[in-house]
């Protein structure tokens, strides 16, 4: 509860702060301060100190899983603000509003990680999405940004409609006429038509939100068109929050009749893995490549939805941390590049050794090389999927796709270390504090890779 209230309040504070504070460099400090407060408040709630006692009639439940995810998401956001604060200022004039919208998104994230009814799920997902539509189009002078925003809005509105329809079907179909996900009592027999239709609609709309194939078509264009700072946020925290909502919904309400919808999820997972990885291979722009790679990583996270066991929950949390940290770091470096193509990275190791080395850690983590958090996360996903004991081929496909991903991630490493840069006047803006933050991020990745217990143990605290 702490997180939901405080993020909302801080969003409003930031927004009105924009009226009084004219200097563009101030809001980011406010945002960082707010983020620290919210992070601390969330951790306090984890240890039982709730500041706001609001009767929600069980519609929200703050369990260890949700609070732990909030902590991960907020910590990543804090890092994101610190790394990218100056880049957010450069997007446009309304700096404090961007920060306000980001706080509203976090409010949605906090709801999506703690909902207990379909209504709250819907609210959470929508609160997450609507500010994003605005942020995508925030670079008003850029035609691509506007186009991306419109595309994202239309597709997003459509999927929201489908989700609402699905919720309505489920509400009408279950004998208790209940929104509570624990109380749907769908039974173990063959699904009634209404429930089945609702279920499929929910899978479709959630797949859309986490950009799983074949509902991924918006992703590359939107990620490419949006200002890179916001792509970074969209591709990491918002996406993993979608997955947390996904597994929360499916584990508690539809877990018992998994057999009946598992095939559908298997197909979606396989398609996401294949399309994401194969298309990423052909990209020349790193930004677009990262968009496809985020689809590919979503495919790996879909394995958790496929498995739906305790290992999957633990793994998803780890994956959220590993993937967010690595992607935020990589995007932060990408933003400062002059040239977004892979050739733009040529010879970076010579010009900016710290950036090149940390970027290598991020890329190795995304590939899933041991010693990085990415490996542990992928390892948990494979473990969870193999524990189910069926659809063994899906795991083999996932492993092969991880190998394909090495191809495009290592292209950047090769460019940075083994190719010579062309002569150019461009000097990268990389102050010492930025470099230290990158080093901290990569250290976190390695620590998590060595000791995943630092995250997982809290789940059973």
């Amino acid at each position: 509860m702490n997180a939901i209230i405080l993020t909302a309040i801080w969003g409003v504070v930031m927004m009105f702060g924009g009226v009084f504070i004219k200097r563009a460099s101030v809001p980011k400090y406010w945002a960082i301060a707010g983020m620290v407060i919210i992070l601390v408040a969330n951790i306090m709630e984890f240890f039982g100190y709730t500041f706001f006692r609001i009767e929600t009639r069980g519609m929200l439940q703050f369990d260890a899983f949700g609070l732990l995810f909030n902590t991960i998401a907020f910590a990543c956001t804090l890092l994101y603000f610190m790394l990218n604060g100056r880049d957010i200022e450069k997007v446009g004039k309304n700096v404090s509003e961007y920060f306000a919208l980001l706080f509203f998104i976090l409010c949605g994230v906090a709801i999506a990680s703690s909902f207990k009814t379909l209504l709250m799920l819907f609210l959470g997902i929508e609160i997450m999405s609507i500010p994003l539509y605005i942020l995508t189009g925030s670079d008003k002078r850029n035609l691509k940004s506007t186009e991306a925003s419109l595309k994202y809005f239309l597709m997003g509105a459509f999927s929201t409609g489908i989700m609402l329809m699905g919720i309505a079907f489920l509400y009408g179909g279950n004998t208790f006429a209940s929104f509570y996900i624990d109380n749907l009592h769908l039974g173990t027999g063959k699904l009634p038509v209404m429930i089945g239709a609702g279920l499929v609609m929910l899978i479709v709309s959630m797949s859309f939100k986490v950009s799983a194939a074949p509902f991924h078509f918006w992703t590359p264009d939107v990620y490419d068109g949006a200002p890179t700072v916001f792509t970074s946020f969209m591709a990491t925290i918002v996406k993993v929050a979608g997955f947390i909502a996904f597994i929360r919904l499916f584990q508690s309400s539809f877990g018992i009749m998994q057999e009946q919808w598992q095939t559908l999820v298997v197909i979606i997972t396989a398609a996401t893995l294949l399309i994401g990885n194969l298309t990423a291979v052909f990209q020349q722009s790193v930004k677009r490549m990262l968009a496809y790679s985020s689809i590919a990583q979503a495919g790996f996270m879909m394995l958790a939805i496929f498995a739906l066991n305790d290992t999957a929950r633990e793994g998803l949390l780890l994956y959220a941390a590993a993937y967010s940290l690595a992607s935020i770091g990589l995007f932060a470096i990408l933003i400062r590049m002059n040239d977004y193509t892979i050739q733009g990275f040529n010879g970076l190791a010579k010009k900016q050794p710290v950036l090149a080395i940390t970027a290598t850690v991020f890329l190795l983590s995304l590939t899933g090389i041991p010693l990085t958090a990415g490996f542990t996360a992928k390892f948990y996903m494979l473990l969870a999927a193999l524990k189910t004991g069926n659809h063994l081929w899906l795991v083999i496909l996932a492993v092969l796709c991880a190998a394909i991903s090495a191809y495009y991630y290592f292209r950047i490493i090769q460019a940075m270390f083994f190719k010579e840069a062309e002569e150019s006047e461009f000097v990268m803006d990389a102050p010492a504090s930025f470099k230290w933050l990158l080093i901290v991020t990569s250290a976190l990745i390695i620590i998590l890779g060595l000791m995943p217990g630092l995250v997982i143990d809290w789940l059973y605290y």
């Binding site: 010693l371 524990k387 083999i396 492993v399 190998a403 290592f410 217990g453």
Partner: protein, 492 residues
């Protein structure tokens, strides 16, 4: 102190790691080089000390250690040294100072990074040989690859990036499949105190997987190891990578890294999948022998010295792989000592090849000739290395290959007969190589060649001493590994 606070496997692991990390920050190339050599010599001293305490019946305390790592998964950071581990850690510890000293003259761009990566590679290799937990094993198996990837891509021939990339993709894909195999076997293990399953060696050995499962798991593991060794038809990365890498990297790859594959088959495949080994042994032996003859035939027509040695290495490894799958005591004993001997010999051979290339500037057989007059000492050492490569009596590899052939013969005489063909072919191309480089008329490239200097003579003398001492008195190696052979064969 030893045993209570720190054990040999830990020392062997952490010393290269930390010295490697420190050397990254030594900017002066000369100092970096010197400290790397010193670090590797200390590692060698530790390894020698560990050999003194090798008897696990008496000194178990010094050779095994286990830390809590991921209790909820049943994985602990467990390290241990058995006979085979002692053998290969000693090979690793011995090879690195030899390699550094032999190539001491060569200057590298960014020498500190080069030497740092070399030591990190040593750490990864040590980790593979001392791990006693499947997850730890996989960690180091992949980690050893990363420094090697950077080493081979950054320093070497013109096409190095593409060649190394091929190597990386081969090994990465196969190890990921092995990871899946590891997880599957893990899920079949019995519960422990803290977790439902366990990654420890013992648990894997006692997993008793059903024969149908063994049959496909076998291939997931075997392919990963076959790529590393490499066994035909997974060998295509090897000649390119060896040719394009810088000499020290090539020596590490062929001297030690290929032993990872042989080691891992002995460590994992034989004890965990005994039924599948029996089921598929003829296919694997057939592939290995076909690979031996094929590689030998290609080696005969090679003009490039490095490629020739690379193909010759495939032939030797093929014999090891074939003999492993004969699964009898004699054969496995032979494989054990041949792992060590081949490591020594191939590094020696690479050193002389490197010296020929350095002194003349070329490594094409067609451009070389008449070196014997100009560099008599180099010629003597080269011929000695080649004789060891042919495994002539008195050299160490004679003992190894003789034992291996006996083992293979005991299993099936026809296999031994076909494998024997490659022995003849080795002699053909090796002697042909000596003839073309050192005798005949000298073309323009080799007119101003000088002989090698004292430092290199000394290193080569050390290698030659190993070759002949172990050729006459191989008993220590047999003694060291007999326990491991018995343990492995007890699963059949």
């Amino acid at each position: 102190m030893l045993g209570n606070y720190i054990t040999f496997p830990e020392l062997l692991l952490w010393l290269p790691l930390f010295s490697g990390l420190i050397i990254f920050f030594i900017k002066e190339p000369k100092n970096a080089k010197r400290w790397t050599l010193i670090s590797s010599l200390i590692t060698l001293a530790i390894s020698l000390a560990s050999l003194y305490y090798h008897d696990n019946n008496k000194y178990l305390l010094y050779n095994n250690v286990s830390y809590v790592w991921m209790p909820y998964l049943g994985s602990s950071f467990a390290l241990g040294l058995d006979g085979m581990g002692h053998l290969l850690t000693f090979l690793t510890a011995l090879s690195f100072p030899v390699i550094f000293a032999a190539t001491y003259k060569t200057e590298y761009k960014n020498a500190n990074i080069f030497y740092g990566l070399m030591l990190l590679t040593q750490c990864g290799l040590m980790g593979v040989f001392v791990s006693a937990d499947a997850l730890v094993f996989y960690f180091f198996w992949e980690l050893a690859l990363i420094p090697v990837y950077f080493l081979c891509s950054r320093w070497g021939g013109e096409k190095r990036v593409a060649a190394t990339w091929k190597f990386f993709i081969y090994t990465f894909v196969s190890s990921l499949l092995m990871l899946e195999g590891i997880i599957y076997v893990y899920l079949q293990t019995t519960p422990t105190l803290t977790a439902q399953h366990s990654f420890s060696f013992i648990a894997f050995y006692n997993s008793h997987i059903s024969p149908p499962d063994q049959n496909w798991l076998f291939w997931l593991f075997f392919i990963a190891f076959a790529v590393k060794m490499p066994v035909f038809p997974f060998h295509t990365w090897q000649p390119d990578t060896y040719e394009q890498s810088s000499p020290p990297a090539t020596m590490v790859l062929s001297g030690i890294m290929v032993k990872m594959g042989v080691f891992a088959i002995l460590r994992w495949v034989l004890p965990v999948f005994p039924d599948a080994v029996v089921h598929f042994r003829n296919i694997v032996i057939g592939l290995s022998i076909a690979g031996m003859i094929y590689a030998s035939c290609i080696a005969m027509v090679q003009d490039d010295l490095k490629r020739l040695v690379a193909y010759s290495s495939i032939a030797h490894i093929g014999l090891m792989c074939a003999t492993i799958f004969a699964t009898n005591t004699t054969g496995l004993q032979g494989v054990m000592i041949q792992m060590f001997n081949h490591g020594i010999n191939i590094i020696g051979l690479w050193i002389v090849v490197y010296l020929v290339e350095r002194q003349t500037g070329v490594r094409k057989l067609s451009q070389l000739g008449g070196l014997a007059l100009k560099a008599p000492v180099l010629t003597i050492f080269f011929v000695l290395m080649v004789l060891a490569n042919i495994s002539l009596p008195l050299t160490n590899s004679f003992v190894g290959e003789f034992t291996m052939f006996t083992g293979l013969y005991q299993y099936n005489r026809w296999y031994a007969a076909f494998a024997g063909i490659s022995i003849i072919l080795v002699a053909v191309y090796s002697l042909n190589m000596v003839q073309k480089i050192f005798y005949g008329s000298s073309p323009s490239e080799t007119i101003v060649v000088k002989d090698i200097n004292l430092n290199e003579k000394f290193i080569l003398a050390v290698v030659v001493i190993f070759i002949f001492v172990l050729g006459v008195y191989p008993a220590p190696l047999f003694h060291l590994t007999s326990d491991t052979v018995t343990t492995i064969l007890s699963h059949f």
